[in-house]
């Protein structure tokens, strides 16, 4: 982080410090008019400490969403698996696809010699599509949907992201993107982020794996594929 960025980062803190100072001054003026007995102060102290201890115990019993993946090496493993799949997908090496990423598969007997691929529901295609051309003389088309690992801060996003739907008609494959969804999570930290800002940015990148939805088609060479939305991965 450069010096200038550091100064800019600290400016809001200065504003905050000024506000706290105002708060403290106001507080002092108000408490001047309250007669705190020592007994009351001690009780207040005990109640506050009791609440803190109770909160630690209560927190342990609140059910969580998502499992924390503590070791960065697990994220590294996920990233590697995603990378290997992506490379195999780009190189049309269907045999190298990891079967654990397979979500669904279909086969369809086409009516004519044309296959139209249509994408719906999103301005930008949410799926990546690739075609493996076969020497078959039949009209049979195979379609497989894969989804690679997606994890962020311990949440298995793969479970949270709705899948695209695939509809295969006589000579059409219609891919419909999932409806837009907004998910918000709380992540609690014991650390002071002010002191670990440089590390935390790296650590955040380490805790983030984003996977994609892949559609892999096996189409006989004599079939003419119409891909108006440019879904095909060249």
């Amino acid at each position: 982080m450069s010096m200038d960025t550091w100064v800019v980062a600290i400016l809001p803190l200065l504003v905050l410090l000024f506000l706290i100072w105002i708060f403290l001054r106001l507080g002092r003026n108000i408490t001047k008019h309250i007669n705190w007995t020592k007994r009351l102060s001690k009780w207040l102290l005990y109640v506050y400490i009791g609440m803190l201890l109770l909160a630690i115990v209560a927190y342990e019993f609140i059910p969580t969403n998502g499992d924390k993946i503590a070791a960065p090496k697990e994220y590294t493993m996920f990233k590697n698996e995603n990378k290997i799949f992506q490379q195999a997908f780009e190189n049309n090496e269907g045999s190298k696809f990891d079967s654990k990423f397979l979500v669904e598969e279909w086969t369809q007997e086409l009516v004519g010699d044309t296959l139209e691929i249509i994408s719906k529901g999103s301005q930008f295609p949410t799926e990546r599509l690739n075609i493996e051309w076969t020497d078959s003389k039949e009209q049979l088309v195979e379609a497989k949907m894969y989804k690679t690992h997606s994890y962020m801060d311990g949440i298995n996003l793969g479970e949270e992201i709705p899948l695209s739907t695939v509809e295969i008609n006589d000579n059409q494959i219609i891919l419909t993107a999932p409806s837009p969804k907004q998910l918000t999570y709380y992540l609690f930290s014991n650390e002071l982020s002010v002191l670990s800002i440089v590390d935390s940015l790296d650590a955040w990148e380490q805790r983030r794996v984003i996977g994609y939805t892949y559609i892999y088609l096996k189409v006989p060479k004599h079939i003419n594929v119409i891909d108006k939305d440019g879904l095909q991965f060249y």
Binding site: L16, S41, L44, L45, E60, T126, T184, Y185, F188, L192
Partner: protein, 244 residues
């Protein structure tokens, strides 16, 4: 000269410490209020990260003790400064004491208060965790707790305690300087701004707080800084006038 009873420095400091811990209970109560205000301000989160894939966008709001700590930091400055005010210094004349024993007692009280402030600041995050999870309908990610990471807890707790101690020691030194000359009230603010704006100041701050090979270095630096502040404060107190 002969006296009926001879007290050692340790005994005098201990007597003063006991008295001060009782007398300054109000400062601890004010700490609770400061933390509660900090907790309320923290409810929106300290930072958030987002990402989007397949028409789904994710936002992860990180809740840490940073804001509460900032509030407690300011409290620490003012508590340190408060101990140097005439009203508080004159309390020491109720005892047969020296300036050194008074300073040592104040140092001990600040240490104890820093421990209390550090521990409660750290734990206050758990109040926030429970309140947010019960009140809000936002899901949450399994986050590290005290029981899951005891070593991390001790390290973070130590940093908070020592930081608060350093800040209160700075406040104590500031208070002593102000007692010598009122101009120091504004000179400190000027010094902070200078540290933030000038290249040398930024280098110093970076050296102390950011460029640390390990957390142990940071802790050692902060302890050394606290001791320097206290020693300077003791030297300054020797220049103060006696009670008239």
């Amino acid at each position: 000269m002969m006296f009926l009873s001879n007290s050692t420095l340790g005994e005098v400091v201990w007597t003063q410490l006991k008295f001060k811990m009782n007398a300054y209970l109000g400062a601890v109560v004010s700490l609770i209020f400061v933390q509660i205000i900090g907790l309320i301000v923290s409810m929106n989160g300290n930072s958030s990260t987002g990402s989007g894939v397949d028409n789904t966008s994710f936002t992860i709001i990180t809740i840490s003790s940073d804001v509460v700590f900032a509030f407690v930091g300011i409290w620490a400055v003012f508590v340190g400064k408060l101990f140097t005010t005439k009203a508080y210094r004159y309390d020491d004349f109720s005892f047969v004491a020296t300036r050194l024993s008074s300073n040592l007692a104040n140092f001990s009280v600040l240490c104890l208060m820093s421990i209390f402030a550090g521990v409660t600041t750290f734990l206050s995050n758990y109040i926030l965790r429970v309140v947010l999870l019960l009140v809000s309908d936002v899901d949450y990610v399994k986050s590290v707790s005290i029981f899951e990471d005891p070593i991390g807890t001790i390290v973070n707790l130590s940093i908070m305690i020592i930081l608060i101690l350093t800040i209160s020691a700075g406040g104590y030194l500031w208070g002593m300087l102000v007692q010598i000359h009122k101009a120091f009230t504004y000179l400190l603010i000027l010094l902070i701004i200078t540290l933030l704006v000038t290249k040398t100041g930024q280098t110093i701050l970076q050296y102390v707080f950011i460029e640390n090979e390990s957390i142990v270095f940071l802790i050692v630096k902060l302890i050394a800084l606290s001791l320097v502040f206290f020693l300077l404060a003791i030297l300054c107190s020797n220049r103060l006038e006696v009670r008239r």
